[in-house]
Subunit: 363 residues, 3 copies
């Protein structure tokens, strides 16, 4: 599939300049682009590498002096990073064509597939499941009993969706996603050491060793529209009610969403984040990679956490957090600076102690 | 399946009050319960929401003033959280019925299945494997050569058990579990930088760059009775002997147990915990979410770690730990408080320096 | 399969002493070894347990007084840990024999399998894929369209390789590996809060809540020769160009390599490490377990990080790092010591404040 510069610019709502009839087959970074590729140079530092490659056309920022880079044509856009989203969708070589249902798939006769649904080899769809129109189910996928998935879903190879999970439209699940595992919920016959420690902040008291008894997960999982989940990420089902993920949420690889968690809309949960059971997360929250959030806490709207932040208590809306334990990012950065000066502080105080008589009254 | 209040109370060893003939089909949170559901309200703050829902009956704590909540019946128990375990097992809608062996499963003729074993579609059971009676093997499961699994196991979709792994009775594996991957064990021909750094605590010396040679895993994995493992969690096999997980251990999603690790009985390993190679963990240990434990250390009985604790050295029995590096929880919390006061300490010392002649003798 | 002490020593380039005709069937730890097993005792503390077991022969360090341990024979080597690599390869009971292609595998007619390739039950190989000679593809593996894999690969059960991924020779993938998921790359129509926070280090300003638009991954993944990946680990494909992993890299369980990342040769990436998008890693880098690396940073050659180090900015070649945020290991250890003395410092300063008139001039 090839496009002219004019066609691409029109699709992106961007401005085409130069020889807009030039034909483009794919995209490339500036230094590696060949003559039939569109070079992607979102800012001047990237565009500087254009002469190293063979591109005749590039996508650049509005106002770029494109002719000076030796190009024959360009697509100019005020926010190239956003334009890249549309361009990448046009150019994606891996959009799975609908190929119908592979004969090796094992599909229960009571499952319902919408129009245009394709199912890859060796996938399993169990009784009562309903798959929305135009969905693409890859190879070796598992869809459990009574699952509902909206239209236009993409489930990559090896995705596993447990029983009774309900998912909205345009869902994307990367390889190995596991939705609907049982919640991690166990209880001891008598009050246990963990319960005691939570109350005492560190003292186990005289609690005796006990074995764990399982609380079964009676809830399932609800996922909104336009949600994407990364490779090998997990969402557990709820104890009594469902675990809930709102519309527009994006969840990266190896992230873990515990039982009973409720996440609002348009959140970004980066790789290896863990959200423990029964925690609630607002809308438009961004949790940086490897962030951890304790169970039963509340994170307000628009909160952002930096990488590896460990959230041990509630976070009010709008806060930007960093560190372990999480603190406001500006305060945490200030603390990091002070810690680098700590050896000097110890030296200073030691010096002062030698010169200063210690007050020994009253203590 | 429905139960009367009396039947449920009897099964749980709890006390039924009011109209104990009321019929219950499932459970719900107080605010969302309908008339045929049992509301779960383990403490007064939860019970306060009963009027928002339509429940006629609830499970409450011993001594609760159940009639005041507008209920017709109640189940009273001194520890509702524990009673919830039994109740949830009665009410679980997803207990997999034994459906025999699906014709699409690929089962080696030398594998042995106990009475009542069911095997889901597209699962693989290799030569010499033995599966205990009444076990439920889900869809797309892999069970390797000479694996032994005890009676009444539940293996969800996509579970993978490597060759020669031995597992006790009542094992539960959530979707995507991987037991029996090879240990991560590599060596350089000459002493390498990592070995040098461990000895010097930070100095690589003059070690040269080398490639890694693989140490094959000759051991396998032994797992005791009553163990559960979470979605996409991993246990590697041992180098020379087996990696060992004791009875009653519960392991959450995306946790990682390295080669040669030995874990005692009744431990709780929360989500995304990592335990590096050859570390030994005692009995009744609880490792909070995202805890990391270095290789070759020892964690004593009854140790508890808070979320994201990073254990870099041995921990004596009974300790409650928090932080990175791990410290006793009470000391760590005290340290966190002091760190919040650190800016003020710097200010104070700076002020004192201006007012105090520094002792310049002897240093 | 059994070997004599002489055969083993010869294969390892080590020295055999005593009755070198003794026959060995497998290996064991000293305390658990039986008469036909070779005990592995790499250092004196391990050898002390030899009398507890029944070994007649052991692998020991050069210069060991083997007769004093009651042995009839020994293999002596200057670096037993390295010799163990060769020994373990000889003794591995799980080397998968080439068994041809299982009839249940679904292999596109346009895929090409080299000589001696075996494919396990219920695996899928899509159109245009090419698998090198003598590769062992396990059960339930997925190999996508146009994938290239070099000779002598081992792909364990449930490995998933996405479309267009190219992999060198001798690749080993443990169960559940996912290569070639889409990169986690999203953009908002207008400048978003995360972009603002990066510039301001903590201030969201007046950015409004927006939904995320997806940037498709047009690149794929390139992996060099002699790479191993651990169970359920993930490598995402690049946005415009490929994500790249160099020769000789070893990646442990549940590690995450983001889109566009470039990793050099002979790196060791331990369990649960996360490397965020577009970060570049040099050669011979070792990242300890649970290390996190921010996006778009650079880590120089020979860098080593301790467990759970969080790298938020560039690290020059040769550094040994620890902590969150990462600092040079020796400085971080010094800081940890000072922090333990912090309560005393507060006490000292408080005492001094009482005894010292505060300078109130000029501030």
């Amino acid at each position: 599939m090839t496009y002219t510069i004019e066609q691409i610019a029109k699709a992106l709502g961007a401005r085409a300049v130069g020889d807009t009839t030039l034909s483009i087959s794919s995209v490339a970074e500036p230094a590696m682009a060949s003559a039939d590729q569109l070079a992607i140079a979102m800012k001047p530092s990237f565009a500087a590498a254009l002469p190293e490659g063979g591109a005749q056309a590039a996508m650049l920022w509005e106002g770029a002096d494109w002719e000076n880079f030796g190009l024959k044509a360009a697509i100019l856009t005020p926010r190239p990073r956003f334009a890249m989203a549309g361009l990448s969708a046009m150019m994606d070589p891996d959009i799975i064509a609908s190929v119908g249902v592979h004969p090796s798939a094992v599909i229960d006769p009571t499952a319902t597939l919408g129009d245009g649904v394709s199912v890859g080899p060796l996938s399993v769809i169990e009784a009562g499941a309903r798959i929305g129109a135009d969905s693409r189910i890859g190879a070796q996928v598992f869809i459990g009993r009574d699952v509902q998935i909206g239209e236009n879903a993409t489930l990559r190879e090896g995705v596993k969706i447990g029983p009774r999970v309900r998912i909205g439209a345009h869902y994307i699940a990367q390889p190995g996603v596991a939705v609907g595992g049982d919640g991690f919920s166990f209880v001891t016959p008598e009050e246990g050491a963990v319960e005691r420690v939570r109350d005492s902040l560190g003292d186990q008291g005289e609690t005796k060793a006990q074995s764990w008894t399982r609380i079964h997960s009676l809830g399932s999982v609800q996922i909104g529209d336009d949600v994407e989940m990364g490779a090998n990420s997990c969402v557990d089902r709820g104890n009594v009610r469902d675990t809930i993920i709102g519309n527009g949420c994006k969840i990266d690889n190896l992230a873990q969403i515990g039982h009973n968690v409720v996440i609002g809309n348009d959140c970004m949960i980066c790789a290896q984040v863990g959200i423990a059971g029964s925690t609630r997360v607002g809308n438009n929250v961004v949790l940086g990679g490897q962030t951890g959030v304790s169970d039963n806490v509340f994170i307000g709207d628009n909160v952002i956490t930096g990488g590896a932040t460990k959230v041990l208590s509630n976070v009010p809306a709008g806060r930007v957090m960093l560190g372990y334990p999480a603190a406001k990012m500006d305060k945490q950065i200030e603390l990091h600076k002070l810690l680098r000066r700590l050896p000097r502080l110890f030296t200073d105080v030691a010096a002062m102690k030698k010169g200063v008589p210690k007050d020994t009254s009253n203590d």
